[in-house]
Symmetry: C2
Subunit: 143 residues, 2 copies
Amino acid sequence: MNEYDCLKLESQLCFPLYASSRIIIKKYKPLLDKLDLTYTQYIAMMVLWEVKEINVKELGKKLYLDSGTLTPLLKTMENKGYISRVRSTSDERNLNICLTSKGEKLKEEAKKIPLEMGKCINLTPKESLELYKLLYKILDEEI
Amino acid sequence: MNEYDCLKLESQLCFPLYASSRIIIKKYKPLLDKLDLTYTQYIAMMVLWEVKEINVKELGKKLYLDSGTLTPLLKTMENKGYISRVRSTSDERNLNICLTSKGEKLKEEAKKIPLEMGKCINLTPKESLELYKLLYKILDEEI
DNA sequence: TACAATTTAATTGTATTCAATTTACTTTAA
DNA sequence: TTAAAGTAAATTGAATACAATTAAATTGTA
C-alpha cells in the first residue's frame, strides 16, 4: 500500500461505471438497429411512448441531457418520421415534441427489447435490483 | 401493470447506469481542468502512472476502448507533453506509449482527486463497495 | 409602459465513441 | 520463399456530450 494506490484504475468507482455503461449500450446496438434508433434516440422514444408529448426542457430533465445534445438528436428523429417538433403557442420559447403515428407504431416492435437485453446482463434479479437502487441513490442527488 | 411497462425509463437498468456515469464524470471536470485533462485522458494517465509504458492494444483492453478512440486521444496527450508515442522496434505494428517526466509529475497533483471525488458521491463506503462489485460482475463477463 | 433580468432553444467548437475500412507489418503455410 | 492470412494502429464518417455563447420570447418591476 502506498499513497498512490488511490490512483489505480482498480481503485476507482467511476471507471467501472463508465465502462459498463458503454459496454451495455453497445449490446443494445443490434436490437436498436432494427428500429433505426441509436441508444440516445431510444431513451428519448421511451419518454415519448409514455407521455406522448413533452418539451425539450422537460425531456432534458428526464434524460439528464441539454439542448446542445437534444436539438440535433430530435432533428434527426424528426427526419426519420418518429416525432414532430412544434413551437408552443402559449410560450414560443418552448418546443413541444410529439410522437407521430410512425413513432407510436415502433413501440410494438420495441416491446421485446428489454427482455432480450436482460439476458445480456450477467446479474441475478436480486443483484439487478440492488444495482438499480444504488444507481438511483446517485441520481436522486441531482435535482 | 401492462405489457408496455417494461419500456418505461424507470424500468431500465441501463439508463441509470448511463446517466450516473455521465453525471459523475461531469463532477470530475473542475478537478481535471486543473491538470488540463479530460476524463478519458485521466483514466489513460492512471494506467500509465501505474505501468509507465504500454502499447495501444493493451491500453485499449484495460480501458475497453479501441484505436478509433485512443489514437486521437493519445495524439492530444502527446501534444500536451504528458506522453510519448514510439513504434516498437521488435514489432512495428505496435505503438508504445510512455510517460514523460511532465506526465509523471502530474501524478503528484492528481493524488488528491480520488478523495475529493469520493465526497461528491452520496454513497456509504459499504454501498460503494457493493456497487463496485456489481459493476465488475458486469465487466468481468467481457473478455 | 419600457427595459432589465430571466428563460428556452439553438448554435459553435472541442472531444469523445464506435463501426467499418485501410494501411503497414508479421506470421503461416503451401 | 513467397503469397495468403492475421494483427495493430490509423483513418473515415456518423452520432453523441457538453461548455459557452447567442437569439428570441417572456416576465418582473421601476
